[in-house]
Amino acid sequence: MAAKLKVRNEHLDSEVHYAWNGSSYKVILKDAPQEQLAILKELGMDIFEKDKKEQ
């Protein structure tokens, strides 16, 4: 099972506008479900706490 993505504290109040599969979405990071966070990670956003393996 994939590790749960955790947004770093300083980004929790941020709003991300992103494009995915031809559609546009807006999400406030503190409310974002894991599915959306996974998309943001795939887009290359550097907003996540690093897991122990990455550190």
Partner: protein, 186 residues
Amino acid sequence: MALAIFTQVCAKNVSGASKILISDKATVTAVTITAGEVSAITGSNAFMKIDSIQDSLQWKQEESAVGLYNAEIKNTIDFNVLPPSKTTNVLLQALLDGSPCGFYAIIIDSNGICWLVGHNATDPLGSRPLRSTKISHDTGKGLAVAEGNQVAIELSNDCSGLAIPFNAALIAAIVAGTESTFCKWS
């Protein structure tokens, strides 16, 4: 948003804009907004520095009421480049080719503030980008025409929200003019 006290900061103000960087819409995949400022841009080498003639760059943001309840915000960016040549044609052709999909721009104003133009907090990402609305090349008549043989370019859009400034960290990265993940200077 409710009205609140507005206090003017006592500081020097400088008219004009100094630099423009333009991105194809498709290369910006995410914009992060924190407390009313752009705090991150996701996109590899998205924004390309475009050299414009000194004091030819102008960005205008104009709000107009539409009927009683609606508002429209129009952004217009004008700048001149030179000389007319095959190299300049590469830029012009890229603007013509990219216009159907649209562009975003970073404007560095003469106060040193950087603005993301073509996206705002209201419209979905990419829904109302800038488009190339005018390209004009005029030789001018004779030697006494200051703008003779310059190519005038206009990008514009109509949208629902105000342009957003970048936060201090990103402004520092942009105005430094060094390579960053989302700006290409050379």
